[in-house]
Symmetry: C3
Subunit: 374 residues, 3 copies
């Protein structure tokens, strides 16, 4: 296998914050980030997964060189200079930039500035739509005031430093995003107010928000990411099929909105299909690649059956622990390299073309999409 | 490829009865068990499948050592001492225990006691829920009497010797199992009585039965198996997606019910996802592994992308013919061994870990789940 | 890898017309046929796909022997004797017969007679149901006249030279084909007349047409093809799952209708399942094989997990450009050969059986199904 990816840095277009040094030896967190299971899920079962074995190997590689037992990990991690440890992990893995979704952040999360310093990678924030809907709900009494505050923040997202936006509609009401009229939205707002809940689950209001924010995102050239497919069990996986976005894609991509399908598994073939027939549709196979790592070669290959190489991006969806970032890049590099060395890919392409595709997927696509660079 | 599974016996947590010696040379049955097609399906087409070629190879291996033509099989089988033939097939394949669903049994089925004697494996019965619903329907006139009789049998299942229960709701009304109130159930019971049918297809009554039996199964630590995915065309495959069980899983697994997803194909990735995020969810890839045998390496690998090795079990779903049991174990061993020798699995695990996972999947998981053994 | 397919000609049971010499150097068309994307899709993105790289290699192989740049292709193609060029491509790829769906044909399409002359392959036409529904709608004022004209053409399809029929219901109203009564159909006909549209999108009328034409097709032994799965974005992929055809299959296959599922991806496992449990159900993996060519080995293997080899057929779904036919056959041969050389296939079969299966899939199945040959 040739080394097409060797030395090519990666841009991670979807990830979350790591913890700061206060939690540098938090081994329970290290176990928990190897899965999307909730905290109630059996730790004994988590240990019977390959991802847990793999993060132990990563820890051992960067501490005493041995593969550690679970019990020895807190001690090994506590001994580290956390800043040096993080920097080595991220730099060995080749991280050049991190596009962070701050809608989810662990306890003791490092700030974006601090993450840049810890990792040696540039950091950029993603605007989390539902979080803004909920924050302004806390502050505003009426629908009109609420929506005015929301849309004002949407319209100034680019100038506020955001390089993209994200919706988790799949977790709340499903991906069949559709237009909702203002009267229906107002009624949903009243129901939400009466419910006493802070968390937004009113489908009408989520659809209203996403549908009406989309145009303003397009005008600022801010891509809109959607959680799709694999995630924690708060999502109904049947409502996370990216094919459900068809109407939204057909409405907004002709207006210039770039839509980014995150995760996608087990619908990554469907996502690749969408990217192959609609302009401005991008996707990744984050989350499954580090967490279901024995799948990586197969999943990456399946994702790339139809999609142009200009539409698929590396991402980790890692958070909390630096080891998971290291693992995500390592496994992705192995899998994507294997795909580029597939018999049929090699048969019909030159090495130059394969190198070009490697550079697109590892970083160039993200630069063009989010950072407006050629 | 190392021999991680060599010498490890298997427990088959989902299978059915084999025939006794009266049908020992029934070659039509041998052909039919290579597929889930109904009896009306073309025999000529069945012969153009790999499973038929494979059972012929099995017969040849245990009779005259040649790969036989279809015509010579009845003669070869008739010559055998059936008890010796069965014992050799099951023991060579390493069967230690068989958990039998007696809800389906072929004509001239051997009894559990006789199967134990024929195969040298321990046998245990599974309680088939819909069969009990139908049997008591024949005996009882009113809803109240019927449900009392049913729930009484459910509550005494463990003491009656059952080690688990099974529902085929997927075949009758789909897997979106939900709560049904008693008045609705009573109306459904009346409709059933008026229909003159013995077969239960009233969705309300199936949902009522499964939903209300679940608590009593949990109290007896009896796992509840569900047919999901692949099966004969009596099932609408779209209603057999295990993701449809989400509400039922969220209701009953916190109460301690273990839920076992059988077959799963082509939804085995979805099943592995469920096992990876919910406690007490287990699954297998039975049926597809012997019947779609060229899929086995791929399907086993896909099933294990996300699931803990403590949640996946070997099963054959074989019935009628001993040859199908032999084939199921043979193909499963090949596929699971290949998975444990996958580049990434080997990269991040020790041989001890892989041996441990082999022992879990082949039998330990079934022992813990059904037989209350450590 | 042995050469089971070497020298075996192929019958392409689903394809469309190629252009005549007027468009022999149309390089924009060559780019566009490498994808199902609409004309509005970015040409730059199309060039970042393996299919474009592959057709360039094909052009180079049959012109100056070099792998050409996109810019040099018009010149290279313009220099060719188009008839000789076509004949060489089709004959090297082993095309013996082409079953052409004339419902879609490119501008400057060659006639069936001319295609036979250009390619050296026999050509046969497929009756496109929705096209007939629309053509007669232009000519007839009332529902009764319209349906009489339609059904008369259906009933004389075989004697008019057609060897099969095709429906694109998946593109218009989805695959859940069901019975529609005549009054409902009449109302739909009136809505259509009032709409002023030429294109038929009335679900009731499409269902009425397919349902009521099926019996007459069966009586003429004309197989009915359905577009399923992958296609241009005019199709809602969720409505193209062949499992939706279950009711139609259960109604019409017992009456002798042969149903052929085209394309199928990403539902090719589901299609294989249907072929394995219902008589008279056939399928292919056309379109994905040439257009998503790095998928070919995986997709062909997945398609053949359950299906009898007597139910799966080669097809290209190619059109417009001869190069795409060359690529489709080349990639299919590689993938199917790889499947026949799979470890488990080889373990349980003789070379004779594998050769037989190769001959079925490459052409024998199509001969039996459409051409009434043994």
């Amino acid at each position: 296998m040739s080394d097409l990816l060797k030395g090519i840095p990666v841009i991670d277009h979807h990830c979350h914050a790591i913890v700061d040094e206060k939690r540098q030896s938090d081994t329970e967190a290290l176990l928990r980030v190897t899965s999307e299971a909730p905290v109630t899920y059996s730790a004994a079962d988590l240990k019977e997964r390959l991802a847990w074995q793999a993060v132990k190997v990563i820890v051992g590689r960067y501490t005493d060189g041995q593969c550690p037992s679970g019990e020895s990990i807190p001690g090994l991690l506590a001994q580290q200079d956390y800043a040096a440890y993080c920097r080595t992990l991220f730099q060995d893995a080749g991280y050049q930039a991190l596009l962070l979704d701050t809608g989810f952040a662990p306890e003791s999360a490092a700030s974006l500035k601090k993450i840049a310093s810890l990792t040696g990678a540039q950091t950029y924030p993603i605007f989390r739509l539902e979080k803004v809907l909920e924050e302004e709900f806390e502050r505003k009494k009426t629908f009109t005031d609420w929506w005015e505050a929301v849309i004002s923040r949407v319209r100034t997202a680019r100038e506020s430093g955001y390089i993209g936006a994200k919706s988790i509609a799949a977790y709340r009401s499903g991906l069949q995003i559709h237009e909702v009229d203002i009267d229906t939205a107002k009624e949903a707002f009243q129901r939400w107010k009466h419910s006493g809940e802070k968390r937004l689950t009113e489908a009408d209001l989520i659809n209203f928000g996403v549908w009406h924010a989309a145009g303003d995102l397009a005008r600022q050239a801010l891509p809109l990411q959607f959680h799709t497919g694999y995630g924690d069990p708060d999502t109904d996986l049947r409502q996370g099929n990216p094919l459900l976005l068809r109407g939204f894609i057909e409405k907004y991509t002709p207006l210039g909105l770039s839509i980014v399908l995150l995760h996608c598994y087990p619908y990554h073939r469907e996502a690749g299909y969408l990217a192959s027939v609609y302009n401005h549709v991008f996707f990744d196979t984050s989350l499954i690649v580090p967490l279901g790592l024995s799948s990586a070669r197969r999943v990456v290959a399946e994702a790339l059956e139809l999609a142009p190489y200009s539409r698929y991006l590396f991402a980790s969806d890692a958070h909390t622990r630096p080891e998971m970032f290291a693992l995500a890049a390592e496994v992705f590099r192995d899998a994507f390299e294997a795909h580029l060395n597939d018999t049929l890919v090699v048969r019909y392409t030159s090495r130059e073309v394969r190198e070009h595709w490697a550079s697109l997927v590892c970083g160039m696509n993200a630069r063009r999409l989010y950072l407006d660079e050629a």
